[in-house]
Symmetry: C2
Subunit: 206 residues, 2 copies
DNA sequence: CTATTTTTCTATAGTTCTATAGAATATCTC
DNA sequence: GAGATATTCTATAGAACTATAGAAAAATAG
């Protein structure tokens, strides 16, 4: 029962995480059973426990897989010294692209992470907070430099970006023909200028 | 096993729906068991089946309870003949107020409705679509009258409003001290003017 | 107070699911 | 190809949960 590290193990474990992501996304953590996951991998239910100690461990790995990349991506954006608009666009791009690439894991992170055992949930929460904090910082900076209005509350603004990305991420997932680039553009435009503003419309277009 | 209609029955059934809402919100549909719901009502597990034929029926009632009011509210807003800004504010107010009043049922609707049996899910979906359609119409009208920019896609805009309300609804639920009125104001202001616009800031304030 | 109806209880059949143990097969190393 | 290691399989113990049946208790009506 010991695990060495021939690459097959890590490859199969990754496959297990993806299978779990798909199944959890469809049926929810409690609605899914380990048999579903195993079947999707082409192995038997019991064999799954070669890769995970428990169903909850699988959930933890899926959640981590869902956000690790885009949290790390945010580190780069926050420290990039770009303009506010550029940072916002980069954030939205990164977030929405994740929905194309790993929408299942992301959905699981959003909907099921609260079923994780305490310890693991705390670790994940740290990642989420880092992301949110960096996003808030971007707004604080932009307010200082006058790019963003004083009346905007950074905490709400960050939440607005995240909420918008999640909502439009849903659209992307449901409609795979949707042009990602166009969605990103619409999203940032809307966030920056709102529904009614007209001053930048021309330069924003195209 | 027949049910007449002494008011006690309807009263208790409503209590059962609220209990189910709380439990489903906390543990998810599959994670919750009928015992949890019954206990919260102060009755035994088996007795719950006097009010529901199945766990799924309970879920259906909770979901309906979660959105019926604010969908109906939207009917009034859509046909009110108010200005775009007023309609948007009313929409946001209605949606966010729901989070204060029945956040549990709303959360259940958002997260668990897909576990409903087909027939019931379709009926609920109709309600959701009506809401969304009316919101889109508000944007179409506002675009025609020039209040909202041409470049805004009504479908995305509607999704943006819903997404924003859901995201900020989370904040409201997590932080009960938050001033609802202030949140509503911030939300509509942000949607209408965006992060950077300054032209209306003064009139928007207060 | 008695008869009737409504509500709740107890007990359980039948199902499903997680996690483990130990055997069997596949893969690797020399 | 023999021996060691890694991976998968079968089978199942043990726990939990839904839904039902029928008895008991509570409420209501005449």
């Amino acid at each position: 029962m010991q695990k060495a590290n021939p690459e097959k193990y890590t490859r199969q474990r990754q496959a297990a995480i993806r299978a779990a992501a798909a199944v959890f996304a469809e049926k929810g953590f409690h609605g899914a059973c380990t048999k579903d996951i195993a079947e999707r991998m082409g192995i038997k239910q019991g064999s799954l426990y070669y890769y995970f100690d428990s169903k909850e461990e699988a959930l933890g790995e899926v959640c981590l897989f869902g956000i690790r990349d885009y949290v790390e991506h945010m580190d780069g954006i926050a420290s990039s010294g770009q303009s506010f608009e550029a940072k916002l666009t980069a954030t939205v791009t990164s977030h929405l692209s994740s929905y194309r690439e790993r929408n299942e894991a992301l959905k699981v992170y959003n909907d099921e992470r609260l079923y994780l055992p305490e310890a693991r949930r705390r670790r994940l929460k740290k990642l989420g907070s880092r992301y949110r904090q960096q996003l808030e910082n971007i707004f604080d900076d932009a307010k200082k430099s006058g790019t963003v209005r004083d009346t905007i509350d950074s905490r709400f603004a960050a939440q607005a970006v995240i909420g918008m990305c999640n909502a439009w991420g849903d659209l992307i997932v449901r409609d795979p023909d949707l042009d990602l680039f166009k969605v990103i553009q619409n999203c940032t435009d809307l966030l920056i200028n709102g529904f009614t503003d007209t001053k930048n419309t021309e330069s924003q277009r195209n």
